[in-house]
Symmetry: C2
Subunit: 525 residues, 2 copies
């Protein structure tokens, strides 16, 4: 498969006069391949094709869409090492990480394929007619239907698993929604390779070409035009708070407002309870440092705030973490822009009177490597200055030293919404954990104990979401099977003749779906 | 139970200097009882109490909240005929209608009680640890948790079933959310009686007082203050488009935006297919007129637009409908303001060059009675002027005369989002119905055949919702068991020790809930 910098609108490959280039973050060099930036005409055409594709695509038997998703996974694997090599060059991420991410991306596509075949997501619910009741009850049947074409904005930090064929695309396609991807400008070649794999699979499966389009570009205008197009019915986004909120504003201002699922910002608080520190301060320090610096700290779930009670054990934690941080080789960040933002964030903490740097990584030899940094502050200062609780994307964190458990609780209660909240507990911490868990649950989509927040399992029980500003919609997750629920709405059908009902609702249950009949759950398979 | 015009903040009854009165719409007289309007202090106190009540209330065993909901139903019935008499005086609605609505209100509370005991709404999903996998998988468990305190804005047209103890309140309480009701000023005495029944039940069940507060008032400021309070986490609203959108704007402008479930405006298109008209034009005409004029047309599901193909059969439909409309006694509308808006809406249609009045009810003898009106227009005119498709709340409708099925399809495709869409079909209409059903499904939350949209069954399969502007969130319903889903969000727990997990997630399944384990559904009871 060749990269030529095209815009992929349905089955067509287009050129434009507006060209852009990616940068190799490891070297700072601009890469030679030029990419065409999509414009308003491409947005309109992609959305028109998506709208045209919607009725047939959403009405497909689930097994047919499942086969398509599995074929997309195969096609991505079939790209071979070109995909990994291109992603390495464009993202600075190491081979093993990207190979793992490719496995996750394909596994995720297969997971949605399995989930949609199982059929729970349709939530088929049937209340048969009660003609003898006074008044008689009509026959009422409910199922979930796809929302319509979905716009997807991938993230820079997962050029495969949260990008062109990432979780948003996979879950939207699974639900029956055509997808228009705004390609991330940091990895346009990686994006094009994956987009071509999807485009070829759409054609191979005889699906309408509008099921998928790929619009590379740099300008924010492109994204705004896409979200503003009246044919788009929902948006999936992973990125910055500013970017997410801009799309939320565009979506809310439409004559028909639409849902935006934006995963934005999180500092993923880690709470160290006293007994945990007493029995394993050193291991916690090194474990924390490893999670903080993993992937140069460029994870949504990066632990950016540590909350703990003062004392000798906490000092041991700091010493161990500081030693690990000081010894770690700085890693390449994803883009020069992200590195600039990281340095600005660290500089702001350094300039904050209430924060003190207590650990630092080695100075980087090349311009886009991430020098990790750990700061400390007091609970009072943290509560007084919201800036200390804002995300610095990269390997920087703030330790909040608390006088006691009450102060820890106050700090937790003052946090904004988070993707994750972590509790480390020791043998004597059960009472404290029991009192803090409800506070943590109120702030986060995932609460974990005795682990680190980085590493998001792709499984039915996963929630990768959380209260604002972690996401724009706390009722959703962007990882796991429940992600499909973002792209459907319930519709009920009253007294529709059986032969005219969607197959999922017909009395003979031709798709063999699990159903709830008269309020009682019947398991299908 | 006495009505004294108090503001009910938790267990406390308060007075204020700002008084207002209700009007008897049947006579136009101002009623003697004065009611205290709540102010900012009351909003803040009610929200603080609700926040304080939330942890304990949301953590209750489902059976305990179910018993509370059932007791609320009993307490409403125990008010006795005072409730019906007060509601008749304040709303102008007839006794039989209000007795039926009371039954529906209590039945709804019991339905949510049963639903929350069944436990499907928690969506418990467990992926056990896989310690031997490479890398090992943590133990991950997901459930739905309540969002927090909910603000409820009742509707004028259902002083019981969509008001203080209506579907929004019942579903929010069922989900574990304390409720602060902004009382509707058209039926303050009815509201107070129901609010006192809930308040007494909260006390009798030993629940925290903040589980429920009732804030009567007239000014829009009161509602804005309530939605703007940072302790409120979701909003349920039924009313006008302007009112709903104002609350949506307040909610979106908060530092933490929250979901607003506003049910707003719908013209509930009715499509008459040729064979249906050919075989039963007269019956369709009288059936339509009855649905149009039911309750003076003051239903969210009132059929305000009829779409049909020109011809002799349609003329018979019009004649039958016109005869029924001309013969019907005008009914009292809910408030003088609603009657004024209705007359203005009808006057606008009369002044519209593209619309012609083809039927009218008798002129009303008293000032707030609704003189029904039926207009007609062409498909081209309807498509050219959006005003012809806007809701006129009351018994007014527009017939859109189409040249053929293609023109009907174009008219349907041009509609805004709707609560309902109705198809009348005869023996020869199956092909036409099959082609139009996907268009109707795209526009509505409920699609029905050979019936009338008025009359919303309260059952698991019901969807009372629909695309914007029918509601502000097409992914939800305000009627039926699925209404609870509006007030929860998913949270997952990773490697939390079993004893610290919420009971719903503990391995022994102490609440005997249905669960999904490793992606496989296990039925609990």
């Amino acid at each position: 498969m060749m990269i030529d910098g095209s815009i992929l609108v349905g089955s067509g490959n287009r050129r434009s006069a507006a060209l852009f280039h990616a940068v190799n973050p490891s070297t700072g060099e601009t890469l030679p391949q030029s990419f065409c930036a999509a414009g308003d005409r491409d947005v309109a055409d992609a959305c028109a094709l998506a709208e045209a594709a919607f009725p047939a695509f959403s009405a497909l038997r689930p097994e047919a869409r499942a086969a398509f998703l599995e074929a997309v996974a195969e096609a991505i694997l079939a790209i071979g090492d070109d995909l990994i090599a291109t992603a390495m060059t464009e993202s600075g991420l190491p081979r093993m990480r990207l190979e793992g991410e490719r496995g996750r991306t394909c596994g995720q596509l297969r997971m949605f394929a399995a989930e949609l075949s199982r059929g729970e997501w349709l939530d088929v619910t049937i209340d048969p007619a009660l003609p003898d009741r006074t008044p008689p009850r009509a026959d009422i049947r409910r199922m979930n239907v796809a929302l319509g074409p979905v716009a997807v904005f991938g993230a820079s930090n997962f050029p495969l698993a949260f990008s062109v064929a990432g979780g948003d695309t996979a879950s939207a396609l699974a639900a029956g929604c055509p997808v228009v991807v705004k390609g991330h400008p940091a990895h346009p070649g990686t994006g094009e390779l994956v987009a071509r794999a999807i485009q070829a699979t759409v054609a191979a499966h005889g699906l309408p070409e509008g099921v998928f389009s790929f619009l590379p570009g740099v300008a924010n205008d492109l994204g705004a035009a896409l979200v503003g197009d009246p044919r788009i019915k929902a948006v999936g986004f992973t990125g910055s708070c500013a970017g997410g909120l801009a799309l939320v504003a565009v979506a809310a201002a439409r004559s028909e407002p639409i849902p935006v699922y934006a995963e934005m910002s999180s500092v993923n608080p880690v709470v160290l309870l006293p007994s945990a520190l007493a029995v394993r301060a050193d291991a916690l320090g090194t474990g924390f440092a490893a999670s903080l610096m993993l992937g140069a700290g460029q994870f949504c779930t990066n632990p950016g705030v540590v909350i703990a009670v003062e004392g000798e054990a906490l000092d041991r934690f700091v010493a161990a973490a500081g030693e690990a941080i000081a010894a770690a080789e700085p890693l390449v960040m994803l883009t020069p822009g992200i590195h600039d933002s990281y340095r600005a964030g660290v500089a702001a903490l350094e300039g904050n009177q209430a924060a003190h740097r207590i650990a630092q990584g080695p100075q980087a030899s090349s311009p886009t490597r991430c020098t990790a940094a750990l700061f400390e502050t007091t609970a009072a200062a943290f509560l007084a200055d919201a800036a200390l609780g804002h995300e610095v994307f990269g390997a920087a964190a703030v330790l909040v030293r608390c006088a006691d458990l009450d102060e820890m609780a106050a700090v937790i209660a003052g946090l904004e919404g988070q993707l994750t909240a972590t509790l480390h507990m020791g043998p004597e911490d059960s009472a404290a954990a029991a009192s803090l868990l409800p506070l943590l649950q109120a702030k986060a989509g995932r609460v974990l104990a005795n682990g680190w927040p980085t590493g998001v399992e792709v499984c039915p029980a996963m929630v990768h979401g959380g209260p604002f500003p972690a996401t724009s919609d706390a009722r959703s997750t962007s990882v796991g099977t429940l992600a499909m629920a973002r792209f459907v709405r319930p519709v009920c059908y009253q007294d529709i003749p059986d032969g005219l009902l969607p197959p999922a609702l017909q009395s003979a249950n031709p798709w063999n779906l699990p159903r709830t009949v008269e309020g009682i759950r019947e398991v299908g398979h």
